[in-house]
């Protein structure tokens, strides 16, 4: 097993290129996902902002709320709206967060695999050098 440094450098470039290209693609996908998440959250907030006056107006047409009027139905209805908004926002944010965690975890695992590839290659190279050294030694001894 002859030792050829060029082979290992070629493999290193290949591994790095593959890791970089995949990482860039994943990062772009992650960027797009986060962008979509931001837009979705903004849509959700806008919808709630637009819905809140309509909800108050509905209770007001039914005379459940107004000047010097404050019914329990209106209070519960408004609290329910606030709770629904908070739950949806939290669920949405949690979803976005978990998606980001998955991306981060995937990237960490990919980085780990990439480093393992390089470390394996380095180990193989060291072993190849050791074998080449022993082979050279044997060849030299064979010439005595």
């Amino acid at each position: 097993m002859a030792y050829n440094p060029a082979d290992y450098e070629a493999r290193r470039r290949g591994y790095t290129q593959q890791y970089g290209a995949t990482g860039a693609m994943n990062a772009y996908a992650n960027f797009l996902a986060r962008q979509r998440g931001t837009r979705g959250r903004q849509d959700m907030l806008r919808q709630y902002d637009e819905a809140q006056p309509k909800v108050v107006a509905g209770y007001s047409r039914r005379g459940l709320v107004g000047p010097n009027v404050k019914s329990g139905i209106f209070s519960r209805g408004l609290q329910t709206l606030a709770k629904q908004r908070a739950r949806n926002l939290q669920d949405y944010d949690q979803g976005q967060l978990e998606e980001q965690r998955m991306y981060d975890l995937g990237e960490a695992q990919r980085l780990e695999a990439f480093k393992n590839q390089l470390a394996d290659m380095e180990s193989e190279k060291a072993q190849t050098i050791a074998n080449a050294a022993r082979q050279l030694y044997a060849n030299r001894m064979g010439m005595i």
């Binding site: 709206l81 939290q90 944010d93 949690q94 967060l97 780990e112 380095e122 050294a133 030299r140």
Partner: protein, 392 residues
């Protein structure tokens, strides 16, 4: 024309003139042997006699001096002269001639024996010199000098080879140590880089995460107050929802904390894994180093063992050759009658084994036996081989 006195040359034959003529039945010409100053007609016998006379003149006084009473030539001449003069007293001329010839043959045989003895003495002296040389070569240990040189060369080569093996082992150990240091440094650098990276890049992305419950929505308090309506029911509901949201956030926080704890455990496990891998690396590398060191030690031991074996084999071979040569020398010395202890026979070839006095004794003994008409075999005191035919 002859250059000798009292001689004439007729048809190439030298003869005495006027008195003392004799007829030589072997040569077929007349010769005067009373005052022989001329050379005997050349043939094989006379040539041999001349050679012998030159080498041992004391044995042939008649050749150089005519006044000696033992001059066989003179006797022969006198006998022939008597024959030619027709003297009435004593033996006839033919008988005298036969005696003279017999005396000549006896003298020749004696000379041949003397030559044989001289040759024998020379051979024995030469053998003694060779034997003495061999004894000296054996007892002085000179024959082992070449082997000692070989052993020294083997020992020196062994030292050089052993040094080479140990140097190679040292270099191997150095390389093993250096290779280990380099490999350990490289591996440690890799793990240090990993540890540094892990320390600087703590993998806990959940540490900074905080779960929040979010903001509570407003209760429209002002709006309700304007109509005189109490907001208490709305506040109660908001508080209840907020409480629920906070509980959810707490749950989320718990989840983050669990994930963060898991991530931290993962980072700690990874750090422990790195330390364990580094420990395993260092341990394995150390084991490999120990293995290589063991291999080097084994290789060194094997090389040294092989070297020792080769050295032993070489030494054994040299010692074996040395022993073989020593045995061969000993056998040759023993067969030649020498001594292996040294100094008992021979003196390095300077003196013959049989002294000249002994030769003289042997010569006298041979002559005595010849005179007695006995024949004995062997060289010691007997007639030399090849001389038996001349014994009377």
């Amino acid at each position: 024309m002859s250059n000798m006195e009292n001689t004439v040359e007729e048809s190439g034959v030298i003869r005495w003139d006027p008195a003392g003529k004799g007829f030589n039945p072997y040569t077929g010409v007349e010769n005067d042997f009373r005052t022989v100053t001329s050379q005997i007609p050349s043939n094989k016998i006379t040539r041999s006699r001349a050679v012998i006379a030159e080498s041992a003149p004391e044995l042939f006084p008649t050749v150089s001096g005519t006044s000696n009473q033992n001059d066989y030539w003179l006797k022969l001449a006198q006998a022939l002269g008597g024959y030619g003069a027709g003297s009435g007293g004593g033996d006839s001329g033919a008988t005298k001639l036969g005696y003279a010839e017999l005396a000549y043959k006896k003298a020749k045989d004696a000379q041949d024996r003397q030559d044989a003895l001289a040759a024998l003495g020379y051979d024995r002296a030469q053998s003694a010199r060779i034997l003495g040389g061999m004894e000296n070569y054996y007892t002085s240990g000179q024959y082992g000098k070449g082997f000692d040189d070989l052993l020294n060369m083997i020992n020196e080569q062994g030292k050089v080879s052993e040094t080479g093996v140990r140097d190679a082992y040292g270099r191997a150990q150095t390389n093993i140590g250096q290779g280990y240091d380099v490999a350990s440094g490289l591996g440690t650098a890799g793990f240090n880089a990993l540890n540094q990276y892990l320390a600087q890049n703590q993998n806990n992305p959940y540490a900074g995460m905080q779960a929040t419950a979010g903001t509570a929505p407003d209760a429209l308090t002002s709006y309700l107050s304007a109509y005189g309506v109490s907001d208490q029911p709305v506040q109660g509901q908001i508080q209840a929802d907020q409480l629920q949201a906070q509980q959810g956030a707490a749950n989320y926080q718990n989840l983050i904390d669990v994930l963060s704890g898991v991530a931290q455990q993962g980072a700690g496990s990874r750090g422990a894994e790195s330390q364990m891998a580094q420990l395993l690396f260092n341990t394995g590398l150390g084991q490999e180093r120990a293995g290589y060191q063991g291999q080097a030690e084994n290789a060194q031991a094997q090389a040294l063992a092989a070297l020792q074996q080769q050295l032993f084999q070489s030494r054994f071979g040299v010692q074996s050759d040395r022993n073989s040569l020593a045995n061969q020398l000993a056998q040759q010395i023993i067969q030649a009658g020498g001594s292996l202890s040294g100094g008992t026979s021979g003196d390095g070839g300077k003196q013959p084994v049989v002294p000249p006095s002994s030769i003289e004794q042997i010569l006298q003994e041979i002559a005595a036996r010849q005179e007695a008409g006995t024949q004995t075999g062997g060289l010691s005191g007997g007639i030399a081989p090849g001389l038996e035919a001349y014994a009377i």
